[in-house]
């Protein structure tokens, strides 16, 4: 017996939400501390930790590219999903338009990150 069933796309968004949530839970606070506090204020880490040659070399390396891409894309998919589902809680009807804006922005950012990582070179 074969029956066409419309499959939900929710598991995809939920998986991205979960992956981004886990990644940001594990590494988020330390990343914020390193890039946003320690390096700008010259605390703890060497002064040239995020210098142009070092960051360029990191972004040109395949492992570095993968790390940067995973952090930016998954953080944004996590946030997009969570904010989309919080819209109802703050009294905004979460329809197709809101879904397009939330997931669309995450998709655009993902494409932009991939493009920049390719533009950085190898």
């Amino acid at each position: 017996m074969k029956r066409e069933r419309k499959r939900s796309n929710a598991p995809i968004f939920w998986a991205l939400f979960g992956a981004g949530g886990m990644l940001s839970a594990l590494l988020g606070p330390m990343l914020v501390f390193i890039t946003g506090i320690a390096v700008p204020l010259g605390l703890l880490l060497p002064a040239d930790t995020m210098s142009y040659p070092k960051m360029l070399a990191f972004a040109q390396n395949w492992i570095g590219k993968g790390f940067i891409f995973a952090i930016i894309a998954l953080f944004l998919w996590h946030a997009a999903h969570r904010l989309f589902h919080s819209l109802h809680d703050v009294g905004i009807h979460a329809g197709t338009g809101a879904k397009l804006i939330c997931y669309g922005l995450a998709m655009l950012a993902t494409i932009l990150a991939a493009y920049a990582l390719l533009a950085v070179g190898f």
Binding site: S24, P29, L41, L83
Partner: protein
């Protein structure tokens, strides 16, 4: 014209009346900081692709007190996200059975937080090792 005016109870500020929902809104709200931080990193990545001058401009901008202030708030918010992520985990993951007994909620939360602490220290050590 519609003369019927049925009573609809206002839902304004519903979550402020119950501490459970206040906490819920705060932990859902951490996503705003995750998104803003990722947007800052994405800007940095684009600047890196644009060349040395653009990158240095971005790096200097991070020293602005407003950015430092934002990152301090983001550190608190995302740190709270880490705590709530693993606090909720016993209810979001399938039951884990070890030796015929279900793994306790405390063990899952504690284990998750320990892994997060270890991962954070490993990341700091890795960055420190790569930078020197």
């Amino acid at each position: 014209m519609n003369k019927r005016r049925p009573y609809v109870r206002s839902m304004d500020g519903w979550w402020r009346k119950n501490p459970f929902f206040v906490e819920y809104m705060i932990h859902e709200g951490t996503a705003l900081f995750v998104a803003a931080y990722a947007a800052i990193l994405l800007t940095g990545l684009v600047r890196l692709a644009q060349g040395e001058a653009a990158w240095n401009h971005w790096l200097t901008a991070l020293k602005n007190p407003w950015y430092i202030g934002f990152h301090v708030l983001a550190l608190i918010a995302i740190g709270y996200h880490t705590y709530t992520w693993f606090k909720i985990m016993p209810r979001t993951m399938p039951p884990v059975v070890v030796g015929g007994k279900r793994l306790s909620a405390g063990a899952i939360t504690g284990g998750g937080l320990a892994v997060a602490a270890a991962a954070s220290l490993a990341l700091l050590a890795l960055v420190w090792g790569m930078a020197r």
